[in-house]
Amino acid sequence: MIRVQQDDFDIAAEIGRIKAGRSDIGAIVTFTGTVRDQAGAVTEMMLEHYPGMTERELQRIEAEAQSRWPLQACLIVHRYGVLQPGDNIVLVITASEHRDAAFDAARFLMDYLKTTAPFWKRETGSAGSHWVEAEANDTDAVARWKKHAAE
């Protein structure tokens, strides 16, 4: 499942929904990405996205993870709008019988999301505002999964 929203998310509630009424899950991994103040250099972050494409891209990534690993549940929640240091940005939850699948899938989801989901961060701080530059090692992280798939 995927959600794109301005509001914050509640990890405990999300895990509760995933576990409700079942006891076949053995491993749950969550990843939470949060706004870093970068030693005071960031006082605010604005997250822009491309409504329509964002949902489509997150669904595509989720479907890919489901096809690669035996997941009992898979959730991506991504926020947009104006955020403060410490605020949550993204939540990924994966549930599986065993820990390897849950860990691998969560990391895969984050690696892909970082390079294909249409979000853009603009940071504001003492030095003014600027759009965050994409990092080359995020592209490297995705290349690693492609290599895995080819093996």
Partner: protein
């Protein structure tokens, strides 16, 4: 055809969205970028380093050599930085 701009591409063009009629000679994303650059200094500036501009055709990532013939909506934006 509907065109959308995001992040600093939007800031530089000064607009978020527009509808355009394209000449027949514009058949790929790359052609479209070349054509947009001729539309004034803001567009020339926004698409100056065209190699870093990403594009999506109807909500799917597209390369600069992708055909745009049947596209309804094309978006231009910088490399994504979510997550």
């Amino acid at each position: 055809m509907r065109l959308l701009y995001f992040a600093w591409v939007k800031e530089k063009t000064g607009i978020a969205a527009e509808d355009v009629e394209l000449p027949d000679s514009v058949t790929t994303v790359g052609d479209l970028i070349g054509w947009l650059k001729t539309r004034g200094p803001e567009f020339a500036h926004a698409f100056e380093r065209s190699e870093v501009i990403r594009a999506a055709i109807d909500h799917s990532h597209a390369r600069h050599d992708a055909w745009i013939k049947d596209a309804r909506e094309i978006a231009f934006f910088p490399p994504v930085t979510g997550g």
